[in-house]
Symmetry: C2
Subunit: 244 residues, 2 copies
């Protein structure tokens, strides 16, 4: 396809809020939070209807260059080729794309109001524990969630059957040494604020060897629980609720 023709497709697509797909050979330069050069090659350029921009190579998950939604786009043909300058003010950054050959350039009016539901995340683990604290320990009572201590947040604050304060930190993946350190830091903050030494329970599907030995030293308890199991429990409960 001709560069001039492609420019027209892009301009009309931009003005009508369509999603534009250009397949072609291009190079790009980015300057902003970082600085990058992308040499010539065949790529997929996507300009979405919210003016977010993606340059995808023919492999891999990530775009090689991009701009977030809402950039200002300036398009023109120069002796270099079809030049797109995509810039924004905060943070100040610019992506300059030079398209030298166009294999395809089309725009589409895409209507997407489809709901997106995601489960089996940390949020589900939290919900399941709030719903049934016994998952962590029999007799546990939830006091507060997302409690702010200083600048940080504690997933769940609870009280055990003997009346002692319990800090619960939830991780959806294998708990690391850092996670153990984090909950200890929370405990220090809580003790400073409430004047009582809390118990510390790390809830995660597994725990690394290093984290396990550190947790012994720092008196952090570990309870095995997974996002998948949490989701199953919640689904079952929801199913029952429908019956009752």
């Amino acid at each position: 396809m001709d560069l001039a023709e492609a420019l027209e497709k892009i301009m009309s697509g931009l003005s009508s809020g369509r999603t534009i797909i250009v397949v072609g050979s291009m190079h790009a330069h980015y300057a902003g939070r970082s600085t990058s050069w992308l040499a010539e090659g065949d790529r997929l350029l996507i300009i979405k209807s919210d003016k977010s921009i993606l340059i995808h190579r023919p492999t891999g998950y990530e775009p090689v260059n991009w701009q977030p939604p809402g950039v200002v786009i300036n398009a023109q043909i120069t002796e270099e080729g079809l030049v797109l300058e995509c810039s924004r003010k905060s943070p100040p950054e610019i992506l300059r794309i030079v398209i030298t050959e166009v294999y395809s350039a089309e725009s589409y009016r895409l209507v997407d109001n489809g709901e997106f539901i995601i489960h089996a995340r940390e949020e589900d683990m939290k919900a399941a524990i709030i719903n049934s604290p016994d998952i962590v320990e029999p007799g546990l009572r939830i006091v507060e969630t997302e409690r702010r201590i200083g600048d940080e947040y504690i997933d769940i604050l609870a009280v055990d059957s003997s009346g002692q304060i319990v800090i619960i930190e939830i991780k959806r993946k294998r708990a690391t040494r850092r996670d153990v350190e984090q909950i200890v830091d929370y405990a220090t903050q809580v003790e400073k604020e409430l004047g009582r030494k809390p118990r510390k329970i790390l809830v995660a599907p597994s725990i690394s060897k290093e984290a396990a030995s550190l947790s012994m030293v720092l008196r952090v308890e570990y309870k095995c629980f997974s996002p998948r199991l949490a989701y199953e429990i919640l689904s079952k409960k929801k199913g029952l609720d429908r019956f009752l």
Copy 2:
């Protein structure tokens, strides 16, 4: 476009290692590390030549659903529509895409050997400091980089003009409370291992108010330095080297 025609485009594209772009109405279900449902809507489906898969909505940077490179793809037409089952074993997960309407389906043989160079990252800050330790403090001598302490890594280990050990932790962005805690943790490890209390210097373009007050308490020093400045210094040095 007809679903059967689109299926043929996809199959031939897959067998010849092309990058496939389908624009159409679809819904999807993902199960694996998490679980998600995506209701019907207009989207952009990309199957790259390495068999990575991306479903992009008409807005935003991120794909709504995806699969990393190397999945096994099964495509067929059922009464639901054009069904793509993309699965992999480790971790076990599957993305099931049902395309009900196709606006466009094309495949392209993309050749992309273009180099990608990126600068002004943490790596550049480290390189600049190793090259000219005076940036951090006059008289500083680098001892070791990426020193492993336990399971963790210290960016730079150095010795100051008075012979005291210095731990340097580099951050490309504003230093947070957590960064201060991290370097203190490193210092504890170093003291345990080397038997001497090290100085702790946090190098970052800026520091949050909370982090600054915490650094006072925990005796963490702060030195202002940015990835951009590091990159400029390195570029200048490289330019000089060419002359000498």
